[in-house]
């Protein structure tokens, strides 16, 4: 197939899945994906499902949905009702499978049968005892799992009954059946929060969204141990995918949105400032809902950008002054309002924000523009929109590529950084020489041993940094914690501030000592601060550290990927000698005694290298 043909095939498969998700389509999608595989850059992910009921029919659905989202998902189901043994026994099939993600799918009647089926017989003390027992069991399962595996764990929360034992009275008393189950859910959430990489899937909320009476199939439950009605299985697969996308690193970083008929109704070039539909009343309220969804997604740490075919003064007047606008220019990290081709504009926005095309989600009401982007830029995530704008906001809110399971302070502040970045670029253009520019930046850098408050961000950087990343090793929060605790290993976070603001933690270094050699396991820097000699200062720090410990050599690998070309010359330009080249990459080393690497004098460096200090 020619390259255009496979992009077309890929697009048709995605559209087919969007229009008719179900078992028959799933089989077809998976067969197509096998054929297209060489042309798809799929991220692989291994999922183990610990379960207490029949879930086999969900497997092809979640695999097909994942494939369309760019994930090659390998799924293994645990034995029926064997989840406790599988978690507790270190040599169980669960751990032998080496999952990236495990899901614990249990129901109220599995873990708290008394509450589910004979609540009416229980005294308050007995109810409390059940809540204590179940919460303690779940907490212990979470901890045991974490002791045996560093995989991410997603727990199904418990569902409340459609018809509580006490009927209407259940909601009139402080200790009803549903309240008892919700108390367990709160305890499970607390337990999950206390262990890195453990997340709760709000199963009751999922069921409510689909409709409690439509969710269940009592016949299939009684005959085949499958409690979920066939049409609802797709919703469960979708909900799993919303966790798997962020856990597999398949999420976007920026939403690029159209303006006319997307952020407001009508066309500003034709209908004018006064004529467009935008405000708190119908029909303008439809578009305020879209803007509200985009602002909420921005709060999760995504950037917003605008790409619109319009006359810039007219569109900017709306963005700046229209009383119905919820989004303002300050919320937008990059703007392309012109008559140029959108494909070209998307490329430019990616370059301006220093992001790959695969970090972009594209929002446009026009199916032709969406199709063109799908064909020309298959890396871009195109948000499929229904014809009715009333449903746009919901399509954004349920999109798995716009999910985050943890939102760090850095995420929330990212849009601000990009605003500052625009000013830095302006300064760079005005400053005479590069050195003058670097000096004028007044960079202050803090290198610190990783600690519980920085662990999530450090893990996130290993997951998300693609460009300046020498080894591209992805680590979970738990793996970071394990390494930091291991003798001979050191994990450092690098924080950089400058006269425009604090960039937060933007770099990570992980080293281990092997026979007098300091081996660089991970060395990465966010693209926000590339090219400002921060990387030189980081390396100088590692050299000093090696020298102080009496190491005679500093050594590191460079593993080339599709994206890390910016780091390819790093070792060579810093005096490292090429030791060997193999298929996966090259090994470089630096003799500590003779190396003259120093922290650039325009960077003020403070070091806090001892753990727990």
């Amino acid at each position: 197939m020619a390259s255009g043909a496979w992009a077309l095939a890929r697009m048709r498969v995605a559209q087919m899945w969007a229009s008719e998700p179900g078992p028959a389509t799933a089989a077809y999608v998976l067969a197509c994906v096998e054929k297209l595989r060489p042309h798809l850059s799929l991220v692989s992910c291994r999922l183990f499902v610990l379960r207490a009921f029949t879930l086999e029919p969900v497997v092809p659905l979640v695999r097909a949905a994942a494939a369309v989202a760019g994930i090659d998902l390998t799924v293994r189901l645990g034995e029926f009702n064997a989840y406790v043994q599988e978690i507790v026994s270190p040599d169980s099939a669960l751990y032998a499978f080496r999952p990236d993600v495990a899901i614990l799918a249990v129901q109220t009647r599995d873990v708290a049968p008394e509450l589910a089926v004979r609540f009416g017989d229980l005294s308050t003390d007995e109810v409390n005892a059940v809540i204590e027992r179940v919460s303690a069991e779940m907490t212990s399962l979470i901890r045991t799992f974490r002791g045996n595996s560093s995989a991410s764990l997603v727990l199904h929360g418990l569902e409340v009954p459609a018809w509580p034992a006490a009927g209407l009275w259940d909601a009139q008393q402080p200790e009803g059946q549903r309240e008892a189950i919700r108390r367990i859910n709160r305890r499970i959430q607390e337990a999950a929060r206390a262990v890195p990489g453990v997340y709760v899937l709000d199963y009751d909320e999922l069921v409510a969204r689909v409709g409690r009476t439509r969710w269940h199939d009592l016949r299939k439950w009684l005959t085949m141990r499958m409690p979920i009605a066939a049409p609802a299985l797709g919703s469960l697969a979708d909900e799993w995918l919303r966790f798997i996308c962020p856990l597999a690193g398949r999420t976007c970083k920026v939403v690029v949105t159209d303006l006319d008929n997307t952020l407001w109704g009508g066309v500003v070039g034709e209908d004018g400032f006064q004529g467009i539909q935008l405000g708190p009343e119908y029909p303008g309220a439809i578009y305020q809902a879209v803007q509200r969804a985009l602002l909420d997604i921005r709060q999760r740490g995504f950037l917003l950008a605008v790409c619109s075919k319009n006359n810039p003064p007219e569109a900017m007047e709306v963005l700046e002054k229209h009383p119905g606008m919820l989004l303002r220019p300050g919320d937008i990290a990059a703007l392309r309002i012109n008559w140029q081709d959108k494909v070209q504009n998307l490329r430019e926005i990616a370059a301006e924000l220093n992001l790959g095309l695969d970090a972009m989600a594209f929002l446009d009401d026009n199916p032709a523009e969406r199709e063109r982007v799908r064909l020309e830029l298959p890396e871009v995530t195109v948000v499929e929109l229904p014809a009715d704008p009333m449903a746009f906001a919901a399509a954004l809110r349920q999109h798995p590529a716009l999910e985050r399971l943890a939102v760090s302070a850095e995420d929330r502040e990212r849009s601000r950084y990009y605003g500052e970045q625009r000013e830095r670029t302006a300064l760079q253009q005005s400053a005479g020489s590069v050195q003058e520019f670097l000096r004028s930046l007044d960079q202050r850098m803090v290198i610190a041993a990783v600690n519980p408050s920085t662990r999530a961000r450090v893990a996130q950087l290993t997951q998300k940094t693609n460009q300046f990343n020498l080894t591209t090793r992805r680590y979970s929060e738990q793996e970071i914690a394990d390494m930091a605790a291991r003798s001979g290993y050191e994990v450092f976070s690098v924080q950089v501030a400058d006269r425009f603001g604090d960039n937060g933690i933007v770099g990570v270094m992980i080293t281990r000592r092997e026979d007098g050699v300091g081996v660089i396991d991970t060395f990465l820097l966010s693209c926000r601060v590339i090219g400002r000699t921060v990387e030189t200062a980081m390396l100088a720090f590692l050299l000093e550290r090696a020298r102080a410990r009496g190491d005679h050599r500093l050594e590191g690998w460079f593993y080339p990927t599709k994206k890390n070309a910016p780091a390819s010359e790093f070792y060579a330009t810093h005096g490292f000698v090429l030791e060997e080249t193999v298929e996966q990459g090259s090994r470089w080393s630096l003799a500590v005694a003779t190396a003259g690497l120093r922290c650039p004098d325009w960077i003020t460096l403070s070091i806090n290298a001892e753990p727990n200090s």
């Binding site: 179900g22 078992p23 028959a24 089989a27 029949t54 086999e56 029919p57 016949r219 299939k220 009684l222 005959t223 085949m224 499958m226 066939a230």
Partner: protein, 80 residues
């Protein structure tokens, strides 16, 4: 027996068990099809319900232990 229905059921079963149409005869049962375990039985029931727009009771599901038996359960449901 309604020949159209026989044909559709054989096709659905062939899809579920990933067999050729010729391999799925009216005598086909868990004894003759190695892959016909409880999970595949569920998949077959789900596929039949979806494709033919019917629903089976627990008693019927239990009785559906061969392709012929499945057709006997289905005939009155899809007549007319």
């Amino acid at each position: 027996m309604n020949p159209d229905l026989v044909d559709r059921v054989r096709r659905i079963a062939a899809d579920v068990f990933k067999l050729s149409l010729a391999e799925v005869t009216l005598e086909a049962s868990p004894e003759t099809i190695a892959d016909w375990d409880s999970v595949q039985h569920l998949n077959l029931v789900l596929a039949l319900e979806q494709e033919l727009g019917v629903e089976f009771s627990p008693e019927e599901i239990e009785r559906m232990n061969s392709l012929g038996a499945i057709l006997a359960v289905l005939e009155p449901k899809v007549r007319g």
